[in-house]
């Protein structure tokens, strides 16, 4: 019995120590997203959200640990725990904490590219949250065990010195309840006049302060961005990032540089066509709502550049949407090449030809392309 208790205590001590480094790393970690957020003037970031979850959980853990501590104290007091153990425990705790904080350091080092949509910080926070949840779970378990041995209703708890929980809430001892009875009796319901818990009052004041600062920042000092401003910043940032990305991409294409790809180079185009375009243009490009892609007639030009342009900017009046936000230039290029490859495949149920006969002569089409481009970019800007 005693041995298992010792084991338990060691575990708790180690978990306790586990939280501290977590909290501190959590804090340093917070600086990163917040700093960038400040720079960006965007107050939100998923990492920050995760961080807040982590901090909230840590807060809950702290409260529960306090509870656990009093429970343990009470438990050992009543069990007449020997003093040697009490003397030994701090030593154990120190060693444990040292080891664990070391172990903790290694986690942020284990970076690696995130295969999912989380950032590294996001992953880290997620791990922290999982550990925190585990700690929470364990603490509740131990709390149950410790309090379960000596149940609260026996009344011994109240006789022992006030525990942290009682202190936080400014509980009056149960025995002196009669002195704070307000004397009401509503259908047998009595009321006590316990004071409002001090933390309640403080927290209420805190939220009021928060509200005041919030309103001040957004509507008096304008030190927080309006939602439109936030949006503009986000777009600007994204544009910059995109530019940088495109620079680094050797195979960047647009409607001026696109060329017909050879067979085997446009596999992804085929996949996209089947998944997305087939809905309107038919599974084999025979045309449904949208025009036939396999004949020689084209409404908006049949050169590789034309097709690229039509896909990229769309022809909104005719129901063709712009796909440039959905697919990358490379994907559109592959798609255009795949579409060109459909010519003459002569599938069943073809839609009647629409548009003008297109002959494979590149020169006059180029002019057409530029016209198309300006047209559609205009509609796209809106």
């Amino acid at each position: 019995m005693k041995k298992s208790n010792l084991l338990r205590y060691r575990l708790i001590a180690s978990l306790l120590m586990l939280i501290m480094p977590l909290l501190s790393t959590g804090q340093t970690d917070q600086n990163a997203p917040v700093a960038t957020a400040n720079k960006a003037l965007v107050p939100f970031d998923i990492d920050t959200a995760l961080f807040f979850i982590a901090v909230t959980l840590a807060f809950v853990i702290l409260i529960l640990v306090g509870l656990l501590r009093s429970a343990i104290k009470f438990h050992f007091n009543s069990k007449k725990w020997n003093d040697t153990m009490k003397f030994l425990l701090p030593g154990i705790m120190i060693t444990m904490s040292y080891q664990l904080s070391n172990a903790q350091q290694s986690i942020p080092a284990a970076k690696g590219s995130a295969p999912f949509i989380f950032s590294t910080q996001g992953w880290f926070m997620l791990i922290v949250i999982v550990i925190e949840l585990y700690v929470l779970f364990s603490i509740t378990k131990w709390l149950k065990q410790f309090t379960g041995i000596q149940t609260f209703e026996s009344g011994i708890v109240k006789k022992s010195q006030a525990n942290l929980w009682d202190k936080i809430n400014a509980f009056k001892p149960m025995e002196s309840e009669a002195s704070i009875d307000v004397g009401h009796d509503y259908d047998g319901i009595r009321e006590l006049d316990n004071i409002t818990p001090p933390w309640f009052v403080a927290a209420f004041a805190g939220t009021i302060l928060f509200a005041a600062v919030y309103l001040y920042r957004y509507h008096v000092a304008y030190s927080a961005p309006s939602q439109i401003k936030e949006y503009e910043i986000a777009v600007k940032e994204a544009e910059l990032r995109k530019l940088e990305d495109l620079k680094s991409q050797a195979n960047f294409v647009d409607e001026n540089t696109v060329t017909l790809l050879k067979e085997g180079e446009y596999e992804e185009g085929k996949t996209i066509f089947k998944a997305t375009c087939a809905v309107c243009h038919g599974n084999n490009g025979q045309g449904l709502v949208g025009p036939n892609m396999t004949d020689d007639y084209w409404i908006h030009g049949g050169s590789i550049k034309d097709i690229f342009t039509t896909i990229k900017y769309g022809v909104l009046d005719k129901g063709m949407k712009s796909w440039k936000d959905d697919y990358s230039p490379n994907q559109i290029a592959q798609l255009a090449s795949y579409i060109k490859s459909l010519r003459g495949t002569n599938p069943p149920d073809q839609k009647a030809p629409q548009g003008d006969l297109y002959k494979e002569v590149p020169a006059p089409v180029a002019a057409d392309t530029t016209k198309m481009k300006t047209d559609s970019s205009k509609t796209n800007k809106r």
Partner: protein, 709 residues
């Protein structure tokens, strides 16, 4: 002097009737919830029947659970506790009966009309104007009966439960009347008096406070009676009751705009919503603390007594949701939670945990009491408790998960700056979570059925006590308060003063938010190119509302890069000035439609509404075959246009007379477009008008900016 005791009776018949109604409607409402949850996973379950489609059943589910289940729960609690707390009988047995049968009639009418497609299109206030009037009348009957009882009491001071009953009554009356201002077009059709941004603000001022003053404050009153009764412990803190009662009702009313963060609502109103939501945490927690701390010294009983078990979880769920709610009102968190399943999880923690469990606890306590017997099986009640808890967990976790998954997918970009996922990818991803959620709901419902069995057995075992005799002295005429009495006791013995103060307090928040939004022009900057809907589009819009499209589709693009790229330019306040009612929606099970106009050809919409999966494979949208058979109700065009003009929509004088000609012309045009794509359908079908409306969405602003540039 006044030692002469008067004899009177506490009636148990009304509480029993209300209790039965509560349980019955609760089971019905939850069953409908399971049905619609399944429909989201298997759209075939809509059965191609107009009155069984998701868009029509979902409002019945929400209305049934809020107004039928919780509503009757409130009345059960009040009709049982109010006389006992005041040492008197209910004022009028006749009014009690009118109240009971009137309320049940409203519920039945609501279910029938909503399924038939009569709806105002405003969430949780969908009922059409004749029913709205009936609700007002019955609510007044209830109020008279309650105040009659209070004024003929034999207990000088009002207990905290009654403060909550009074404040709830007066606030719900105010909310219902203000939000239901509508312009009748016919017996079962009306348009909201307000338009666009204003309508949105009024609606969510109402919607949020329906949660506050229908689902929360009356149930706090319920808790303040039944929890100390069941625990046989004194209420923890009288002072805390005072602090949290007044702060709660004052602050709650302001928080409505947090349902409209990042929308076209003026930002000052949004900020007020956020600020007051944060301040709301502690007043809400006051109720939880007073409930939980009352159990201090009774925790050994909690382990044994299923009633207290239900109460503890209910109060804990209350604490959780009232912390989560304010967190969701923070802009950054709201960006994730709004339009997502997070909100759905949040309300269900409140509804299943707080309202549900509190109701169940009350029933397990009340039914044995009025049948003068013990509960048939404590063990079954405990089983119900565990099954219910499991149901809540299985409901909530998948919803949270799906909310976060879809958020990450929604906002993720490829390095080239393209959206990484199509909307359909997201729909597909969350499907399994929707299935799990339906399972959670089913488990919860199973628990309710166990409870019904247990309670029926209990009733059979005992014998019903129709009324209980009691004795009390009447109030002395000349009451002089003790000098040591706390100042607040003055309010406690003056119910009319309490009522007035409550109304003033809840009035402040409403006035400060609503009045400037209506009066100050700069709140809704006008856009010259925004024109009223054509008659055909207006008819189509009414079909959009009738089919409850707003239950799954929003019409509000928020200014986020990932939304603008996916759905089109963010929405502006001036775009909605002719929208009676607004249709911004609150949940995106399907994509936003604010700018769907012109995105697809007419034939796409035609095929999509006939068989959604034919043009968007994997869609969980139901089919709408009846739209292809029913002709447009052209007889109503005249009165619709007329009503719109009366509310300030600038149709030319006398336009209603010729409106149908324009309607036919536009219908022919769409008919021709469809013919071009080999689709033949008579041009007078409802689908034509719906296509016209969908193709209009977002077009006004688009043309304007092209012209400007």
């Amino acid at each position: 002097m006044n030692t002469q005791l008067e004899t009177f009776h506490y009636d148990n018949k009304m509480p029993r009737l209300f209790a039965m109604a509560t349980i019955f409607w609760g089971a019905v409402g939850m069953l409908l919830g399971v049905v619609i949850a399944c429909q989201l996973v298997f759209p075939a379950l809509n059965l191609d029947l107009s009155f069984l489609t998701y868009g029509r059943v979902r409002p019945v589910h929400t209305n049934a659970v809020i107004f039928a289940f919780v509503g009757n729960g409130i009345f059960t609690a009040i009709y049982y506790s109010l006389p006992r707390l005041l040492k008197t009988s209910m004022w009028s047995q006749r009014l009690s009966k009118i109240h009971f049968w009137g309320w049940q009639t409203i519920i039945v009418l609501a279910a029938v009309t909503l399924l038939a497609g009569f709806t105002t299109g405003k969430e949780y206030a969908e009922l059409e104007w004749p029913i709205d009037i009936l609700i007002t009348l019955i609510w007044v009957v209830f109020g008279i009966n309650m105040f009659g009882t209070i004024l003929t009491r034999r207990e000088r001071h009002l207990y905290v439960a009654i403060w909550f009953y009074i404040a709830s009554w007066v606030t719900v009356a105010m909310l219902h009347i203000v939000n239901s201002m509508e312009f009748p077009v016919s017996l079962f059709k009306s348009y909201s008096w307000y338009a666009g941004v204003q309508d949105a603000l009024v609606q969510w001022w109402y919607g949020h406070n329906a949660v506050a003053f229908f689902l929360t404050t009356p149930y706090l009153g319920l808790m303040y009676y039944f929890l100390p009764k069941a625990a046989e412990r004194p209420v923890y803190s009288y002072r805390l009751s005072i602090v949290h009662f007044w702060s709660l009702i004052f602050i709650y009313i302001w928080a409505g705009p947090h349902h409209l963060l990042y929308t076209a609502l003026p930002e000052w109103a949004q900020s007020l919503g956020t600020a007051f939501s944060i301040m709301l945490i502690l007043p809400s927690w006051g109720g939880m603390l007073n409930g939980l701390f009352t159990l201090r010294g009774a925790w050994d009983k909690v382990r044994e007594d299923p009633v207290l078990k239900f109460f503890v979880v209910a109060v804990t769920c209350y604490g959780m949701s009232t912390f989560e709610g304010p967190m969701m009102s923070l802009k950054s968190v709201n960006a994730i939670s709004h339009y997502s399943d997070w909100t759905v999880a949040h309300v269900h923690i409140g509804a299943l945990g707080w309202n549900g469990f509190l109701t169940f606890g009350m029933m397990y306590w009340l039914i044995p009491k009025i049948y003068k017997t013990e509960l048939f099986s404590k063990k079954l009640a405990s089983t119900h408790f565990w099954i219910g808890t499991l149901g809540i967990i299985l409901y909530a976790i998948p919803m949270y998960w799906s909310a976060f998954r879809s958020y990450f997918m929604m906002k993720s970009f490829t390095p080239e700056g393209q959206l990484q996922y199509q909307f359909m990818d997201i729909v597909q991803t969350v499907m399994p979570f929707y299935a799990l959620r339906a399972l959670g709901g089913l488990i919860y419902l199973t628990g309710v059925i166990i409870m019904i069995y247990n309670l029926v057995k209990t009733a059979k075992k005992g014998s019903f006590v129709e009324s209980e005799q009691a004795q009390a002295a009447p109030l002395e005429k000349n009451y002089i308060a003790a000098k040591t009495a706390f100042w607040h006791s003055i309010i406690e013995r003056k119910p009319v003063l309490l009522l007035t103060l409550s109304l003033i307090l809840v009035g402040i928040g409403g006035l400060v938010e609503l009045v400037p939004t209506f009066l100050i022009k700069s709140n809704v900057p006008t856009i010259a190119s925004v024109k009223p809907y054509t008659p055909l589009e207006l008819q189509g819009r009414d079909i959009y509302i009738r089919e409850g499209c707003y239950n799954c589709h929003s019409q509000m693009v928020r200014p986020f890069r990932y939304e603008v790229m996916r759905f089109g330019d963010y929405s502006k306040a001036g775009e909605f000035v002719y929208d009676h009612p607004f249709q911004w929606g609150s949940k995106r099970t399907g994509p936003d439609l604010a700018r769907v106009g012109g995105k697809y050809p007419d034939s796409w919409h035609f095929n999509h509404l006939l068989e959604p999966s034919s043009v968007s494979p994997g869609s969980n949208m139901p089919r709408y075959p009846w739209l292809f058979e029913t002709p447009i109700d052209m007889a109503s065009t005249n009165s619709k246009i007329h009503a719109m003009r009366k509310m300030g929509v600038p149709y030319a004088d006398g336009y209603e007379a010729i409106a149908n000609e324009d309607l036919k012309k536009q219908a022919e045009q769409i008919n021709t477009n469809l013919k071009g794509d080999k689709i033949a359908i008579p041009s007078d079908r409802e689908i034509i008008s719906l296509i016209a409306y969908l193709q209009r969405l977002g077009k006004d602003v688009r043309t304007s900016s092209t012209v400007k540039k």
